[in-house]
């Protein structure tokens, strides 16, 4: 059966959820072969096999951590040449897209980014994309070469499908020309203990109406009561109230959770672009005319400093 390369996104062998979604989507097209670069393949293999990886190609080299992106392209190209897959899937992270793009040039193939769904088609995999701030849905195909497709988080529910997960070492030679951008230092982000924004089932976001960094704990308390991730609008991030890594919108993350709660966010196009594919949308805003109310399944016109704490208390009570 045709093989599909899946690029594994992981932190020291802890496989991130979008990779499990990729494995699930890959099985619609062929047999997933996972490519694991860096330390931790021994740890990752069980998870990868459980989700359908027939093979795990593993390579570890110091260059992956010492230089930006290009050494990983060398490795993925080596995997491509070893396997001759029918498609290459990567997560739609900044790095995933960059690796995919460079691989596409090298292997003479078209690339599609930010797919939100993937199915097998008569002329190769068909990708669904959400474009123009999610106001249109398109169906696209790669017409030349081996399709390279990056897929957004939350595009599929990971399914267990135990497979052999046979580990093979992948021989990689990192070219000198791939050692151009040195990673001089790396500061890991401190964990908040909350779910990853793009992977979370529930996201609670605050905007201009939160009116100051000192008030964001109101948003965090609601998020924690629901086990949710915390997001912020561009206005809140630009004002310095919350980190940019939490920004939801066109220039931040796009999220597609089961439930999105927007507090004190007017709903400018910039923000809608990042959240309007959420399944259920709820908003709390003082201004009854705010455009966010055009999107909601349920909206409360009111002061978020009254409504949000009351909601948090009610959630805690109901959850016991």
């Amino acid at each position: 059966m045709a093989e599909v390369l899946v690029y594994v996104d992981h932190v020291d062998g802890a496989v991130r959820k979008p990779t499990l979604e990729l494995l699930t989507l890959a099985r619609r097209i062929g047999e997933p072969v996972a490519v694991h670069l860096g330390a931790g393949a021994d740890t990752a293999v069980a998870t990868l096999a459980e989700h359908g990886a027939v093979k795990v190609l593993a390579a570890d080299a110091p260059e992956f951590a010492e230089y930006l992106v290009a050494p990983k392209v060398d490795a993925l190209q080596a995997a491509y040449e070893a396997v001759s897959p029918v498609a290459v899937l990567l997560p739609s992270s900044a790095e995933g897209k960059e690796i995919g793009a460079r691989l596409a040039v090298r292997i003479g193939s078209g690339i599609i980014t930010d797919a939100v769904d993937l199915e097998a088609g008569d002329e190769g995999p068909v990708a669904t994309q959400s474009v123009f701030a999610a106001s249109f849905t398109t169906k696209s195909r790669v017409t030349t070469g081996t399709p390279v497709i990056t897929v957004k988080p939350n595009s599929a529910a990971p399914e267990a499908a135990p497979a052999a997960g046979q580990v093979e070492q992948l021989a990689v030679t990192v070219a000198d020309s791939s050692k151009g951008t040195k990673i001089v230092s790396r500061t890991p982000r401190e964990s908040t203990g909350r779910p990853e924004l793009t992977e979370a089932a529930i996201v609670v976001s605050g905007g201009r109406g939160v009116n100051g960094a000192e008030n964001f704990p109101v948003i965090e308390a609601l998020a924690d009561s629901l086990g949710a991730a915390v997001g912020a609008s561009r206005a809140a991030v630009d004002a310095g109230w919350y980190p940019h890594t939490n920004q939801v919108g066109q220039t931040g993350k796009s999220v597609s959770p089961q439930l999105y709660i927007a507090a004190g966010i007017s709903g400018a196009i910039q923000h809608r672009a990042g959240m309007q594919t959420s399944k259920t949308i709820v908003a709390i805003n003082k201004d009854a005319e705010a455009p966010i109310f055009d999107l909601v399944d349920y909206g409360v016109v009111g002061d978020l400093f009254n409504v949000v704490p009351a909601l948090t208390e009610e959630v805690k009570t109901r959850k016991g």
């Binding site: 930006l68 992106v69 790095e95 897209k97 960059e98 793009a101 460079r102 596409a104 193939s109 078209g110 690339i111 068909v126 701030a133 249109f136 849905t137 398109t138 169906k139 696209s140 790669v142 017409t143 151009g180 951008t181 990673i183 001089v184 230092s185 790396r186 500061t187 890991p188 982000r189 629901l226 940019h244 066109q250 220039t251 439930l259 910039q270 672009a273 309007q276 259920t280 949308i281 709820v282 709390i284 109310f293 999107l295 909601v296 399944d297 349920y298 909206g299 409360v300 016109v301 009111g302 002061d303 009254n306 409504v307 704490p309 009351a310 909601l311 948090t312 208390e313 009610e314 109901r318």
Partner: protein
């Protein structure tokens, strides 16, 4: 020797307009006003700051696009860029990201460069792959997604803030850089800048000037195809209540009904 900076910019349909597709499923550029992609303003700004910090530097702004894309160049020139290059050719209609990167790479090489500066993504296609594609094609270091950037002593340094870590990067010139919207607010063109821009030189290049065949680009030359585009159905109107003391409870009731609590 002068530091040669080339900024790649894109002319895009206004994101606040009613964007849609033309019959051939390319982006309709006729019915919506176009402008310099907002995210490229950050690239122009950082290029100008690098120039200001250097002894001797020149900023060339480069675009590939239809006739109106000249507006994007003029905006960048009025911000302070020194000259423009407009690659315009009827055969370019429908070119995908890979094809665009080929045209930009050839144009950057023809112009001569020490540093290429790009925005993090366009506001229409939003792929964010162009800088990496350019680095690959030009075979120079890729120093991308920077929230801080500086050039000194033939080296470019910068900070890349990722999801799991923040990285300090360094590469020798020549290199391709991309900057995020966190890199610093772009300046507004001054009246003087706008007037000066009218006199700044803009060269016009065609595919022939870059030794690119028509079949390498355009809709026919694209390695991807859009088979269909459908407007997303408007979300059905939801329930809106006004908080009169019970708003939090009412919301909890709704969430419980949807099994979120």
């Amino acid at each position: 020797m002068s530091l040669r900076i080339v900024v790649c910019v894109k002319y895009v349909p206004d994101a606040t307009g009613d964007r849609h597709f033309a019959e051939d499923l390319t982006v309709d550029r006729d019915d919506v006003d176009g402008l310099l992609s907002e995210l490229d303003e950050y690239a122009v700004e950082q290029a100008l700051q690098i120039k200001e910090a250097a002894d001797d530097a020149e900023v060339t702004v480069l675009t590939v696009g239809p006739e109106d894309a000249n507006d994007a160049l003029r905006k960048a020139l009025s911000m302070g860029a020194d000259k423009g290059i407009h690659v315009e050719d009827d055969d370019l209609h429908g070119t995908d990201a890979l094809g665009t990167s080929l045209v930009l790479a050839k144009a950057v090489e023809k112009a001569g460069f020490d540093l290429v500066v790009c925005g993090m993504a366009s506001t229409d296609g939003t792929m964010g792959v162009l800088p990496a594609l350019l680095a690959e094609r030009l075979n120079v270091p890729q120093v991308t997604q920077l929230s801080e950037v500086a050039v000194d002593g033939g080296k470019v340094t910068g900070r890349r803030d990722g999801d799991t870590a923040s990285e300090q990067l360094e590469a020798s010139l020549p290199a391709v850089v991309s900057v995020t919207d966190q890199s610093g607010e772009a300046r507004y063109p001054s009246f003087k800048g706008i007037m000066a821009a009218k006199k700044k030189p803009v060269e016009s290049w065609e595919l022939d000037d870059l030794d690119i065949d028509a079949d390498e680009v355009g809709l026919e030359g694209a390695w991807t195809a859009v088979d269909g585009a459908a407007e997303r159905p408007a979300r059905t109107a939801g329930t809106i209540v006004t908080d009169e003391g019970e708003g939090g409870k009412q919301l909890a009731e709704f969430l419980a009904g949807q099994k979120f609590i």
